[in-house]
């Protein structure tokens, strides 16, 4: 079964290749490096696993695209398996059905080349309260090597899960083409906290979400000054009365390049979506945000918002922001907006007039800007709050 999927994807990738900068959606991000890389197929042993683990969680390490420690197991409410040839069509569920291999070269490349994939499934009516902590590490990669981590998460009816995904690298370069699919059945609910600390990597993430009736998603992504980072987030709301709340926090520094593309597709009505992207850029960091709310003609009573706020902390940092709406139904509430600027001078004065020093006042205001997102999501286990504070103080 997997072989069939991969063979088809290989053919698609040969036809499609990586998108180039002539494509409107990719005009800011150069994918040449990804095209030129060869799939990693060496075997570098991994020894240091303990330092990334979180207590009272289910810890899973994906190392250079492979799931470590043979994580095939089932406990009450949860199934974790590798995806391999032995899986039946039934156990694969909607794997690779959410993504479209034949239209998207990035996705096709991952599907064609992944050597291992993690499949997580939560049983129906099961509140899985133990956090699932996925650590995705790239290490020892040569400059011309690429890895293809892949995750599929399936929530059955009325189930709940909380998933952390932490992406790390060592000082090596190389590329990552990461793909994850989240399928939310009726009345299921998922919280995802994604932390990208792979600063030296060039990476493209493709995150696909599909929601059925009454399902809920809370998602927070935080990325720290990645050399080249492109994230594609695609949400298909295919049910009624769904809710989602997406937050993206970009902390750009040095010459980092961060490019977020978002498609929020309201395919059915009565659902609420909130997408907020906030970036803080310093040094010569560059940021890009392209987001679109798409409301289909029969998606009445949609309530959707898409906002992008950017804080430029240096003269050489820059941001391109383009939130869009495409609405094909008159009975909806949709909002989009974008702001880009420096720290508010009146707020700064207010703090200074209370004895607070210039540098501390600036740090307080930068942190306040990030807190809007951090306060909305429970991300204590990954210490994101402290990492953001450290980033601010490193200035």
């Amino acid at each position: 079964m997997i072989n069939n999927i991969q063979n088809k994807a290989k053919q698609s990738f040969i036809e499609l290749g990586y998108p180039d900068r002539k494509s409107e959606d990719w005009k800011y991000t150069n994918t040449d490096k990804f095209s030129q890389c060869i799939p990693y197929n060496r075997d570098i042993p991994f020894n240091d696993s303990d330092s990334f683990l979180i207590d009272d969680s289910i810890n899973i390490i994906i190392y250079n695209g492979s799931v470590l420690n043979n994580h095939n197991y089932k406990i009450d409410g949860l199934t974790i398996i590798h995806l391999d040839e032995s899986l039946s069509k039934e156990s694969l569920k909607n794997f690779s059905k959410i993504v479209t291999n034949n239209k998207n070269g990035v996705v096709a490349h991952n599907t064609a080349e992944f050597t291992d994939a993690l499949h997580i499934s939560i049983d129906k009516n099961f509140d899985f309260n133990i956090p699932i902590n996925i650590i995705e590490i790239s290490s020892g990669l040569r400059d011309n090597e690429i890895v293809f981590p892949r995750i599929y998460v399936h929530l059955e009816n009325s189930s709940y899960a909380k998933i952390f995904i932490r992406k790390l690298d060592d000082n090596s370069c190389g590329c990552t083409n990461f793909l994850s699919e989240f399928y939310c059945e009726d009345s299921s609910s998922i919280e995802i906290v994604y932390l990208n600390e792979a600063k030296n990597q060039k990476s493209i993430d493709s995150l696909y979400f599909e929601q059925e009736d009454n399902s809920q998603i809370k998602f927070l992504s935080t990325s720290f000054g990645n050399d080249l980072y492109r994230s594609n987030i695609n949400v298909d709301i295919n049910g009624n009365n769904c809710f989602n709340d997406f937050g993206v926090l970009i902390l750009g520094d040095r010459k980092s390049h961060t490019d977020f593309h978002v498609n929020m597709n309201h395919n059915k009505g009565n659902s609420v979506s909130n997408f907020l992207c906030r970036s803080m850029l310093r040094d010569r960091a560059k940021g890009y945000f392209n987001g679109k709310i798409f409301v289909k003609e029969y998606a009445s009573l949609t309530d959707a918002s898409l906002n992008n706020n950017n804080l430029l902390l240096s003269n050489d940092s820059s941001m391109q922001s383009n939130p869009q709406l495409e609405i094909n139904n008159e009975d909806v509430k949709c909002a989009h907006g974008s702001t880009t600027g420096n720290l508010d001078q009146d707020s700064l004065f207010y703090l200074l007039s209370r004895s607070i020093t210039q540098s501390q006042a600036e740090q307080i205001l930068i942190k306040a800007f990030a807190n809007k997102l951090l306060d909305m999501h429970n991300c204590k286990l990954l210490s994101i709050d402290q990492k953001v504070q450290n980033w601010i103080e490193q200035k």
């Binding site: 200074l352 209370r354 004895s355 306040a368």
Partner: protein
Amino acid sequence: MILFKDLKVKIDDKMIINNFNLEVSPGELHVIMGPNGSGKSTLAYTIAGHPKYSIESGEIIYKKELINDMSPEERSGNGIFLSLQYPISIPGVKNIYFLKSAINSLRKFQGKDEIDTIDFLKLVRGLLPLVGLDESFLHRSVNDGFSGGEKKRNEILQMLVLKPDLSILDETDSGLDIDALKIIAEGIKNYRNEKRSFILITHHHRILDSLKPDRVHILIDGEIVLSGGAELANKLEKEGYGWLRKKDLND
């Protein structure tokens, strides 16, 4: 405490304060009244050191030191406090963190150690009832979603925490209901002593009934055109500012 000599202040190339002269001694409470646009808030911001307001000429001498070029944080460290007419909201910064950062920065400026957390909480909890706020306000973002009255009370709370020598209160009594006005006035009254000075900017005589000012000054076109006692505020309440046109005064 503070002396203004022939002060001229500009904002965006427009002169707002002209030949402003005033001396406020320790323990005194001076009131500045004046029609809208007369330069009252400009004066307040200038004393606190807002960078938008540039001193064209003249001097501000505070505690015998020229402070024209002193930064806002240094002025605050030296005991100057400005209660804003429109307090700024800072979503994402909890009031308690803001107050603790402020008091610790002040203590650092004064060469003191940081305040112990328990002592800080004891201090703030003791002050909250004086301004009619409950503890939940400490855990909300600074002025975010506060009513007008709550913002003003929060300003007075900050004054009580930072214990300034010179407090400039810019329309702290505006937009308050009778009970809130009483609380604010009591807060200021209790804080007053022979060493602490106040410059109170207001449009209303009500707050002056309980505060008993030493002097009332009327500012028009950035200049004090008349000074007197509390009775001046009562006269303004009855007659407005019309009779105070410079021409009439000169006549």
